[in-house]
């Protein structure tokens, strides 16, 4: 980490293991995303300080067993929102087909044997699936613009993200400070 108390994107490149991660760019970007930092509706910050860093990390804290149902739902929404922001790169509130394709291509880029076209068709298929889940029956002329956040929530309904999306941190107290 930089010594001046602020971190920029380049610093993330110094983490060796991160190089192997296919969606590294999106993840790093997520750290600087204003929406995640709660600094604005869109755009990227240039640098973040430690507090911002922790804000991002706090999305990954485990669900506390003492939380009640409402808090669990809130936590879940927050985590899903983080994910949503990662996919929705242009901050328009919808994951369009192109953005989705982008994500899928990156995800599958780790495997050198899968061509871009396959990735694309997978993205298309996934989009169709999402549409079927979210919108159900569509008229022939209806156009499905993209996945909104509510649609996103719908897709994730059956899966308990709260238990999957977290990392064990040794020291939990510092995280709690930020929220």
């Amino acid at each position: 980490m930089a010594l001046c108390g602020k971190v920029s994107k380049e610093n993330f490149n110094n983490i060796p293991d991160l190089e192997l991660n296919p969606i590294r760019s999106k993840i790093v970007r997520a750290f600087f995303d204003n929406r995640n930092l709660r600094k604005g509706p869109s755009g990227l910050a240039d640098e973040i300080n430690f507090e911002d860093f922790l804000t991002i990390m706090s999305y990954f804290r485990p669900i506390d067993t003492t939380m009640d149902e409402e808090q669990v739902q809130l936590c879940r929404k927050e985590k899903l929102r983080f994910l949503f922001h990662m996919y929705d790169s242009d901050s328009d509130g919808r994951i369009t087909l192109e953005e989705y394709r982008n994500v899928v291509e990156e995800l599958l880029s780790g495997n050198p044997h899968i061509e871009k076209e396959s990735a694309r068709s997978i993205a298309d298929g996934a989009m169709m699936e999402a549409a079927s889940v979210c919108v159900g029956r569509m008229e022939p002329d209806q156009v499905y613009e993209g996945i909104t956040f509510d649609d996103f929530l719908k897709i994730w309904q059956g899966i308990d993200i709260e238990t999957k999306m977290h990392v064990r941190f040794l020291n939990m107290e510092t995280i709690a400070l930020c929220h």
Partner: protein, 834 residues
């Protein structure tokens, strides 16, 4: 002990068994008279040589009996939904044992440890390992290990010591036992049995985490059981007073050696197995053999080295899964799957039945009320206590907490089974004086846990509202997001410098991709072995299959229609299909002006891989059927954009083709031909060609054929039964078919629809030919696959058939345009194989 739950057929079964039971007792009785006769009569035309075939005959008979019993049980669905099959089998065994005993006055059959450990147990454990959900297993490995090791030691120690305490207090009366005997008994009765757990839990369907914990524990505790058993047995042999601290230390060391050694043996054999399957491309037919032989060898090798054999074969299965499944062909994979399941199921059936039979042996019974009752109490109580304690510790480290309900199920699900029985029978009665007492108690315990606990666990699970397993179809989105998750989480772990599950898993998968997969997987498999891709293909195929099935079910008569668009309305699409997106979902792909257009044309032109080709085939297959069920189908399965401009054109085309087909079939009928025969011939020819044509990938394609066989049964309702077709002279027709086939040069005959279609045609007399659906004549209707199209002489008319949906200029339907330029350069599929 009446055979419970035996309906009418069950009684018949019993009578048959009685009759069969007579046979084994005839051993030795026939020989002498026969021999005597032989000497006096000279050459005997027919002799009854029972001894000659005795052993294999009896074995085969028992297997037959067990299987017949299974059939008998499942005749009554009500019974099997309440009573677990294992319980029924035990009861049946008791009955059979009673019959044999009554007839023979000696117990001639029992479950011998040798047979059990060498032949009956390995298939079950291999089945468990090969189909183990690896990610779930390794994700919960810490929990599983804790329960397996600490839990089993706790159970053994507490049970043994408590029993000893009670013995000392005098409640048990006079027995010739020492402390070590009790500890030995404790160690063999403490272990949760994988066979029993599987047998009961597979009918209960608890959620997967719970299942994997209990089941994993039952598998991994073998090492502990083996060590404890051997240690205490040698202590008993030495004599209680000669046990030294060194021996105890050696015992502890042996635990690590046994468990890790067993695992290592399993892993080595898994490596060998994966490596071997990499090179079996040209000997596909014996591929399944390798899986079984090498796994069995791992079991025997480990047994030979006195390591934990169960661990060896389990880890062999676990580690080889991925590579073997990637390397072997689809048919081999199916063969392996079914054979394994069959062997495992058969072994399980035999085990339980013989448990029942072996119990009916007056010689082994020694009853001691206090001992038996207390054993039952102790194992239940101590297991519950152990589970609670361990869960409390674990919950501080686990993400997903284990609730009270889970703990209840875990304690209650700790069933004992045949492993304990085999171990207790192995005891040497000279060293363990009270062996019979142990045997009887073990049998009682096993019966209690399997029958009583097995019976009541289902209602318990329902009453407690245990989270059940969710049978969900794999969704592409879930897979994608799941993958994204993994990456995000491991990135976070990297950033924060933590070493967590995700970090480890990431590292492992990188290592695997860089080194292991290169060594152990075929090149062609490496390419296509990505889970997301698999789900995608699976979904594609599933859609295709249900699509076609629907189409067939809807109505063969849908093919026959007038070229008016009104016809569309006549076809009844009342029932919504689950896979059908009830709308033109394809339109979601319609780009608006600003978005990038789907460059389908370029996309299709660049497709080279077999997999893509298969997708093509899928789509082509669908395309063909897309003719009949109009709007709805069209939109569902096209993952490319479609417009509705071409309906009219399509109608005209359909009409022409229909008429042509009818004329053809009419002509062929005139020749007095049996279309069925010709279909069979064509089918056979096609099958032979398929086999010869190694270019056909092991992938999805053959799978579609069974689909058609399946749909045939539905068709039978509408069309006359093919079997009733009278035998006609098929000569001319086959010639005609060949001619037709040659038109399309469908030598590869890859198009499944075209192949099976003829089988749909059961017309026997010309009268109904007018109503014959157009797909009867196999040649023309066939939409040749991409592969086949290579050989087709390029004729534009072909392609029109393929592309009903001429699209607006921008996004064009892949097949149409792609086929044209791609036809020549499309290399034969062989090249893409390794």
């Amino acid at each position: 002990m009446p055979g419970r739950g035996a309906p009418g057929p069950g009684w018949g079964l019993l009578l048959v068994l009685l009759a069969l039971g007579e046979l084994p007792r005839a051993q030795g009785v026939e020989e002498k008279p026969g021999g005597a006769h032989g000497e006096s009569q000279g050459f005997q035309v027919v002799t009854f040589k029972w001894h000659h075939v005795q052993d294999p005959y009896i074995i085969a008979l028992w297997i037959l009996v067990a299987s017949l019993a299974k059939i008998g049980f499942h005749l009554s669905h009500k019974v099997t939904s309440v009573v677990p099959e294992s319980a029924l089998l035990i009861v049946l065994g008791l009955v059979l044992g009673g019959i044999v005993l009554a007839a023979d006055h000696i117990a001639s059959f029992s479950l011998t440890p040798t047979v059990f450990f060498f032949y009956l147990l390995p298939p079950i454990v291999l089945d468990a390992g090969y189909f183990m959900p690896n990610r779930l297993f390794f994700g919960n490995l810490g929990t599983i290990l804790l329960y397996a090791v600490i839990g089993t030691v706790w159970n053994a120690a507490t049970t043994g010591l408590s029993l000893y305490g009670v013995f000392r207090s005098g409640l048990m009366g006079d027995l010739n036992i020492g402390l070590l005997d009790f500890l030995l008994f404790g160690s063999l009765i403490a272990a949760v049995d994988p066979v029993a757990v599987l047998a009961v839990f597979e009918e209960v369907h608890v959620n997967e985490v719970l299942f994997i914990i209990v089941f994993g524990e039952s598998l991994l505790n073998d090492a502990v059981t083996v060590v404890l058993y051997n240690v205490f047995e040698s202590f008993v042999t030495l004599g209680g007073d000669k046990v030294t601290g060194v021996d105890c230390a050696k015992g502890i060391v042996s635990f690590f050696v046994v468990s890790l050694g067993g695992t290592l043996v399993g892993v080595v054999f898994a490596f060998l197995l994966s490596l071997v399957t990499r090179f079996t491309k040209h000997v596909r037919i014996i591929e399944p053999g390798f899986v079984f032989v090498l796994s069995y060898l791992s079991y025997l090798t480990s047994e030979m080295l006195s390591l934990s054999a169960i661990l060896a074969i389990t880890f062999c299965g676990i580690c080889c899964q991925k590579y073997v499944k990637a390397n072997i062909s689809e048919q081999s994979a199916t063969t392996v799957r079914y054979t394994m399941k069959m062997l495992a199921s058969g072994a399980e059936t035999i085990i339980f039945m013989f448990l029942g039979i072996s119990a009916v042996d007056p010689l082994i019974w020694k009853w001691n009320t206090a001992f038996v009752l207390l054993t039952l109490v102790f194992i239940s109580v101590y297991r519950a206590i152990g589970v609670v304690l361990q869960t409390w510790i674990l919950n501080r480290y686990r993400m997903v907490q284990l609730e009270i309900i889970d703990q209840v199920v875990m304690s209650y699900g700790g069933l004992r089974g045949a492993v304990a029985y085999a171990l207790v029978v192995l005891l040497d009665e000279n060293k363990v004086k009270e062996k019979n007492l142990f045997v009887s108690t073990t049998i009682i315990v096993i019966f209690f846990t399997v029958i009583f606990q097995g019976l009541t666990i289902k209602p318990l699970v329902q009453w407690l509202k245990v989270k059940r397993s969710e049978q969900r179809d794999p969704k592409l989105n879930e897979k994608l997001h799941g993958r994204a998750f993994d990456h995000i989480l491991s990135a976070i772990e990297d950033i924060s410098g933590q070493i967590g599950h995700n970090y480890l898993r990431d590292k492992w998968s990188n290592f695997d991709r860089k080194f292991l997969s290169k060594i152990l997987m075929r090149r062609s498999a490496q390419k296509s072995r990505d889970r997301i891709l698999n789900v995608f293909h699976e979904l594609n195929l599933k859609d295709a299959i249900s699509y076609v099935a629907e189409g067939e079910r809807r109505g063969s008569l849908a093919f026959i229609r007038s070229p008016s668009t009104d016809n569309m309305v006549n076809v009844d699409f009342s029932t919504p299909r689950p896979s059908t997106v009830e709308a033109s979902v394809s339109y979601l792909l319609r780009e608006n002006a600003s978005a990038v257009r789907l460059d389908m044309q370029s996309l299709e032109q660049r497709r080279q891989s077999i997999r893509d080709t298969e997708d093509m085939v899928t789509h082509h297959t669908l395309q063909q059927y897309l003719y009949k069920p109009r709007q709805e189908y069209k939109h569902l399965y096209s993952r490319h954009e479609l417009t509705a401009d071409e309906d009219e054109k399509q109608d005209k085309e359909i009409f022409h083709r229909t008429m042509r087909k009818r004329l053809e079939s009419f002509k062929s009928a005139k020749l007095g031909v049996n279309p069925h025969k010709k279909a069979a011939k064509l089918l056979k020819r096609e099958r032979v060609q398929k086999r010869r044509n190694s270019s056909i990938p092991n992938g999805k394609l053959p799978m579609v054929s069974p689909l058609h066989d399946f749909t045939i049964t539905e068709k039978d309702l509408e069309l006359p039964d093919p079997e009733e077709a009278p035998s006609y002279d098929a000569e001319e027709m086959s010639g005609g078919i060949e001619f037709l086939a040659n038109i399309t040069q469908d030598t590869a005959t890859d198009s499944p629809s075209g192949i099976d279609n003829p089988v749909f045609s059961p017309d026997e007399d010309p009268g109904i030919l007018s109503a014959v659906p157009p797909w009867l004549s196999p040649g023309e209707t066939v939409v040749p696959s991409q592969r086949a199209r290579v050989q087709i002489p390029h004729s534009p008319s072909n392609f029109h058939r393929l592309a009903p949906f001429r699209l607006s200029g921008k996004s064009v339907d892949s097949f149409l345009l792609a086929d044209g330029p791609e036809e020549q350069p499309h290399a034969p599929p062989e090249s893409t194989h390794m």
